[in-house]
Subunit: 287 residues, 2 copies
């Protein structure tokens, strides 16, 4: 599955580096996408597509890749000086550090556009599936409830922590399960809960890692939530409270998997992710 | 036509300000889109759609609006400190001056996403037209040859002026004519030349205005091409040479209009635009 994702990403990026493209911006796009992190979202999308029969693998790949491209775009923009001002990402310089602020801004924009382009190309043989996929991706990333909205809440004086996390992190996980199902011709709606639960767990785990790990362990600056006074499960509930919340959320994730041919295989994948999300010192109590 | 554009833009923006959206980012989106400039691109798209029969007005509106939203997004990002560092746009503070840099960055991202969402919603009753429209918009805005590519060339030491202008400005005009035709069910390809010619004329006219007008006349800072050492027709050819180039380009635009029911009406619209583009002191020699 990992290989399928990397191949599809390479193909999508190859189109942006065609003859006539500005070379530095092409290189910035490569830097933003390769090598990747855990590719959790596209793996989840492919796992759900597989659980639903994966009758159009090219479209499943496109859906998975579109979600990862959006994730990469949000990281590039989130690392910029006016947000996190981060020097490191995935253990190497952030895009604006390696290239420049203008090229990082443009790289993020180009990746957002490439996500919609990739999704639409993937639906060439199934045009009736393109509309719901594009709208699902837009809902997960734009306004009023996607990643942009989530980051927008960081500029507000009063923030509902659940709504903030749902928009900034959860929405793209919901898109991963929903688009995975829709790419395989299944109804996406029953898959929203699984995506929302994994997304919420992922956000709490991220807050825990930010508080518990060092910059070297994270491959990016640590302690950013405290440094930027950002809402965080750890800041709200403390370490122990956040670990308990993580377990509570994951407890329901597996039981929320809709009945489908690949249900058992998907449950295994989610269990493995849950284990991976839990900080090592708390794993004895993991789901 | 102007009213149709404003109504469709208001409807598209209304969806982003739904309950649960972060209020400041919602306000930043409104600020970025209203009041608009001349709305030249969506007018061109609607004029071409009308010339091709406009058999699905909701989709023509969506195509026109998607192009304008992309244009607004590119202005918001282009005004940021790492690019033009502009304080004024359309006679009022730029988005990052009125709100903040993070909100301006997010507003641009959200507008790009909204453009694809709007286009896809508009194609609800004509799903077979959605694919070519989305791909046309992506080609005009992303890599390797859209607006992002055009701005990316500003980070390169060696630049082909024609390729730079085509990507940064021309591509969205090509999209305006091509998407206008495609929205009405016509073949977009014969419409590319008209869009390219109008876009090239618009860029030269923009270079002339930047060199000839004051900040008060422009509603934004003047002399930016010289200040940022940007490639420009005036910097390359001088004022007289740029005016001659503008006339040469427009000379062929009208004759490039494909044969269609609304050909004569469209020719009138293009002539009026050509007159408007020419600096007032050179209009005696206009097309």
């Amino acid at each position: 599955m990992q290989e399928r994702i990397e191949i599809a990403l390479k193909e999508a990026l190859a189109g942006t580096a065609a003859r006539g493209a500005p070379p530095k911006l092409s290189a910035a796009l490569q830097h933003a996408v390769f090598p990747g992190g855990a590719r959790v979202r596209p793996q989840l999308a492919l796992a759900v597509a597989a659980a639903c029969g994966d009758d159009c693998p090219a479209l499943s790949d496109a859906a998975a890749i579109a979600i990862e491209l959006m994730h990469c775009a949000s990281l590039v923009h989130d690392d910029l000086p006016c947000f996190d001002d981060a020097d490191l990402r995935r253990g190497k310089p952030t895009v604006h550090k390696a290239f420049s602020e203008p090229l990082a801004l443009l790289a993020g924009d180009a990746l957002i556009i490439l996500a919609f382009e990739t999704l639409t190309r993937g639906a060439a043989t199934r045009p009736e599936r393109a509309g719901p996929l594009v709208l699902g991706l837009a809902a997960a990333t734009g306004m009023p409830g996607g990643i942009c909205a989530g980051q927008g809440w960081e500029s507000e004086a009063e923030v509902d922590l659940a709504a903030y996390h749902m928009a900034k992190t959860g929405a793209l996980f919901v898109a991963a399960t929903a688009l995975g199902a829709a790419a395989a011709g299944a109804d996406p709606e029953p898959w929203h809960e699984l995506g929302a639960r994994i997304g919420a767990a992922f956000q709490v785990a991220d807050d825990l890692r930010d508080a518990l790990l060092t910059e070297a362990e994270l491959g990016k600056p640590a302690g950013q939530d405290d440094a930027h006074m950002r809402p965080s499960a750890v800041r709200e509930l403390g370490i122990e409270g956040a670990v308990k919340q993580l377990h509570d959320i994951l407890g329901g994730a597996i039981s929320s998997i809709p009945s489908c041919p690949g249900e058992a295989a998907l449950a295994k994948i989610v269990s493995a992710q849950a284990q991976r999300l839990t900080p090592v010192q708390f794993r004895h109590a993991a789901v």
